[in-house]
């Protein structure tokens, strides 16, 4: 669960019992987001959910250790006490918000005591993560046995043979098949071999202001948009009108027009997805056989054009939008009452109701990313006038991987996988979903409505809130980015070219897209086209 969500609940002094009473509980439950799992399962699951108990203060190292100890069952089934005595492992991960590695330390303390192994830690800030990883790979100084890593980096690691294949017993231990649809293979696998133990889920959803829709609203529409065509029309329609909440000028969709270290590309992809991701074709960024960029095909160009159309209309975006990155659109604009529509990760949803700086808590609504009333069929080279949806599973969430440093030492290998499997365990993940951890639900078992209902939650709420996430996760045409080496290099250079296009330095959307395509071709050639094609195919499970 996100930290801010939990803090808000704790701050309000609610116990789980009092939270479930009366109308106040509705807001609190909403604030809990899609992460509160069942208490009704009994056994370990019920027991860990009482540590420390909602409203009993923020959990810390003693709680993490307790949870880790209670979830040791699957480890003990496969590892004898003291079996890893003398083994030393190095774990590289993040220290964001004092979570991630800090939790892992606590969870693994009882594991270390039981198995006799010792874990050394490399804690990294988010901004240092990518350079540290890339430099380790390039200079052949991989100095960690276990790594917490996002799926987009699988190309850089698994693709270069740096990871160790997951043993079959680990799959059994973590109940591998319990994953939501989009995290199922090929994500986490290369050439059919599994490498990733999931610990998180990620996707973009559509956030909108409910007070912009309904009878008498300034848009005059009863419902939020279903397509990007409608999104753009609404953005044009509200120009010159007044925001019903803040009294300042009203605005429609908030596109981030400034780069964000590559992450800004996900937001153009939100728009482009329904145009370019044809259900019959797994690819949307590159041709699989040639790595030829598709970024300048008519579908992508339409998405860029949609943004340029709004830039051309004075007042469609807030002033200085050209200087707004996704952090600005999400936290400084949307949450502060500027603009009425946005796509983002789950953070906006959780902050909308719990952050002190948010003014939209009562008027915010969520749905899956809009579709399009036409889709470009790249293989046929023609538009098809059929409705298409393609929600974006941007970044694919965090996982834990074991590096090939453990190869040749069966004891060390088993120890590394045992440690990784412990923190990716089914029961333990229930706890990380419910308490501050920085991780989101990612297993089908996290979405068991019966369990939620049995635990006392309102079924309609749970189905609505968790259901929208689950729909995106399991959507048959969702966007799963290519996990090829250097994917963020492609994103980063695209941001630079888009910034030029949005600033009017290129003649058209097509020219902007062509410039990105040229830059992408250069990157592909530099990294190595043949190897990129091979790795792209491997990442797609082809």
């Amino acid at each position: 669960m996100k930290l801010e969500l939990y803090n808000q609940i704790v701050k309000s002094g609610l116990t789980r019992r009092s939270m479930l009473k009366g109308t106040a509980s509705v807001g609190a439950l909403a604030a809990m987001g899609g992460s509160m799992p069942a208490f009704a399962g009994g056994g370990v699951r019920a027991e860990i959910m009482k540590i420390p108990g909602v409203g009993m203060g923020s959990p810390g190292d003693p709680e993490w250790q307790k949870v880790g100890a209670l979830c040791m069952g699957p480890v003990k089934e496969r590892v004898a006490e003291g079996e890893f005595k003398g083994v030393e492992l190095t774990f590289m991960g993040l220290n964001n918000q004092n979570l991630h590695n800090f939790l892992f330390r606590g969870f693994l303390k009882p594991w270390e005591e039981y198995t006799g192994a010792k874990i050394n830690w490399i804690d990294l800030a988010q901004a240092d993560y990518n350079p540290r990883l890339q430099q380790s790979i390039a200079t052949k100084t991989v100095d960690f046995d276990i790594i917490e890593m996002g799926a987009p980096f699988e190309g850089d690691t698994a693709g270069q043979g740096l990871l160790n294949e997951m043993p079959a017993w680990v799959k059994d231990q973590i109940e591998y098949d319990d994953l939501v649809g989009y995290l199922q293979p090929p994500v986490g696998t290369w050439d059919g071999k599994a490498y990733r133990i999931n610990i998180d889920g990620d996707c973009h959803t559509f956030c909108y202001r409910k007070d912009y829709f309904g009878a008498g609203s300034i848009t005059g529409r009863m419902n939020p948009p279903n397509t990007w065509q409608e999104v753009n029309q609404i953005s044009k329609d509200v120009v010159g009108k007044t925001d019903p909440l803040t009294g300042l000028p009203a605005h429609g969709f908030l596109d981030p027009l400034k780069g964000w270290g590559g992450f800004g590309m996900y937001f153009l992809t939100d728009r482009a997805g329904p145009y370019v991701k044809h259900p019959s074709d797994p690819a949307f960024l590159f041709d699989i056989d040639t790595m030829k960029p598709r970024i300048n095909n008519p579908g992508w160009v339409q998405a860029i054009q949609d943004v340029m159309d709004l830039i051309a209309i004075e007042g469609a975006y807030p002033a200085d939008q050209i200087n707004a990155d996704p952090g600005t659109t999400g936290f400084q604009q949307f949450l502060a009452g500027t603009g009425s529509m946005l796509t983002w990760w789950g953070d906006i949803g959780s902050n909308a109701r719990t952050s002190d700086t948010s003014v939209i808590g009562d008027v915010v609504g969520f749905s899956a990313i809009p579709g399009s009333d036409r889709v470009y069929n790249h293989n046929k080279g023609a538009w098809e006038n059929t409705y298409n949806e393609a929600p974006n599973n941007a970044y694919l969430g965090w996982g834990v991987y074991v590096t090939n440093r453990v190869e040749g030492d069966s004891k060390k290998r088993k120890a590394a996988w045992s440690a990784a499997a412990h923190i990716g365990g089914k029961d333990l993940s229930l706890w990380t979903s419910a308490y501050p951890s920085g991780f989101q639900p990612y297993r089908n078992s996290h979405f068991n409505y019966d369990e939620w209902e049995a635990a006392g939650y309102d079924r309609a709420f749970v189905e609505d809130y968790l259901g929208s996430n689950l729909d995106t996760y399991n959507h048959p045409n969702s966007l799963n980015e290519p996990r090829i080496p250097g994917i963020f290099q492609y994103y980063s250079v695209a941001e630079d070219e888009l910034a030029k296009g949005f600033a009017g330095q290129y003649g058209s959307a097509q020219e902007t897209a062509d410039a990105i395509a040229v830059a992408w071709e250069k990157i592909t050639d530099q990294i190595g086209r043949d190897s990129q094609i091979a790795l792209y195919k491997a990442s797609m499970g082809l």
């Binding site: 693709g159 270069q160 027009l257 200087n323 400084q332 290099q489 910034a499 600033a503």
Partner: protein
């Protein structure tokens, strides 16, 4: 003292230097051959070679005393520093030159590949880099205005004004702030288009939709102003120190001769301040050429590269795109430009450093 050193001692000293040097050279050669694959055996890392270098450096220093006695001890004041500079500056620079003429994308499975002049050709046709260089020219020319403001403030603080000590400290405060803090405090907060206090004031004054980073010219000007706000105090304090060093008698003599305040400034103060001014401007240019943090934080080089500095562009190329070879080449090329321009500037300014007669 020199005559007291025995032949045996001299022999020992030379043996130490050459013996350790041979060990170092052997290890360098051995490890290099292993690295290029010509030799099967070798160390997994260059660490033993580093130890050999440290051993040689220690022997070299020690041998100075053995060989030259008291004179050698004096050499020890400078020799470790020289060795340190060689290992931390000269050697990395040579290494960087090797990288600069390579294609080295950290994501490439092939690793570093020598690519001759490909990076030169790429730079030649890279509009982002030339745009950044052009921006650096704009940013550097802004120093003239900064200098005038700094001189004015220094004159003011040198005059007998009320609360002089307070203003001296107050004007120095921006220099104490990190440029990162400045970019968040000013660029991201006070100048925020919708809720920033400066934007609100601008709306009060009749500017409907204040936008400080929307147009290229405006964004560039704002970056210049934030940078100037931080570093004008540096020039000011240098000029102020210079002003205080001017003998009072000169102005008194001018008063006796009935010179006007302008005459006194133009004929006495300004010429006497030329050496300090040139130094202040040169130091400021060096600071300006490093400009990156404010840009990275506030605009990321936008809109459309209008505010990009060379350093902020290289930062993106190197860090976001892991394009180490090309990024290093751009940095080396920038270094060469800086060395040439600064050398010319120092030569030219030598003439101005001498007060007018």
């Amino acid at each position: 003292m020199q005559h007291e050193i025995s032949d045996r001692r001299r022999y020992l000293g030379r043996t130490m230097i050459w013996g350790s040097a041979i060990i170092l050279l052997f290890l360098v050669l051995f490890q290099s051959l292993h690295q290029v694959g010509w030799l099967e055996s070798g160390f997994t890392t260059w660490r033993p070679t580093l130890y050999a270098y440290l051993f040689w450096a220690t022997c070299l220093c020690w041998a100075q005393v053995i060989l030259y006695g008291e004179q050698g001890k004096r050499r020890l004041f400078i020799l470790p520093a020289v060795l340190f500079v060689v290992s931390m500056v000269i050697f990395p620079l040579i290494f960087a030159l090797g990288i600069a003429f390579s294609s080295w994308n950290l994501s490439s499975p092939d690793g570093r590949q020598f690519n001759g002049f490909d990076n030169v050709i790429q730079m030649w046709s890279d509009p982002f880099y030339w745009n950044a260089l052009k921006n650096m020219v704009y940013y550097t020319f802004a120093i003239i205005i900064e200098y005038i403001v700094a001189f004015g403030l220094a004159l003011l603080l040198n005059a007998q004004i009320k609360g002089r000590k307070f203003f001296r400290v107050a004007f120095l405060m921006p220099l104490m702030l990190s440029p990162v803090a400045v970019s968040w405090m000013l660029g991201k907060s006070m100048l925020e288009a919708r809720f920033g206090p400066i934007s609100r004031l601008a709306r009060e004054l009749g500017w409907d939709n204040p936008s400080f980073f929307g147009s290229p010219e405006m964004a560039r000007s704002m970056i210049m102003m934030m940078d100037a706000w931080t570093f004008i105090p540096l020039m000011m304090i240098m000029i102020l120190a210079g002003l205080q060093a001017i003998p009072k008698e000169l102005h008194e003599a001018a008063d006796v001769d009935g010179a006007t305040p302008w005459k006194k400034f133009w004929e006495i103060t300004f010429p006497l301040m030329l050496p300090v001014s040139v130094t202040a401007i040169l130091i400021r240019i060096i600071f300006k050429l490093k400009l990156a943090d404010i840009i990275i934080n506030v605009t990321s080089g936008g809109p459309g590269g209008a505010t990009d500095s060379v350093t902020s562009f290289i930062f993106r190329e190197y860090r976001d795109r892991s394009n180490v070879g090309y990024g290093t080449f751009l940095a080396i090329f920038y270094l060469v430009i800086i060395v040439i321009v600064m050398t010319i500037l120092i030569k030219v300014s030598d003439r101005w450093m001498k007060p007018r007669h």
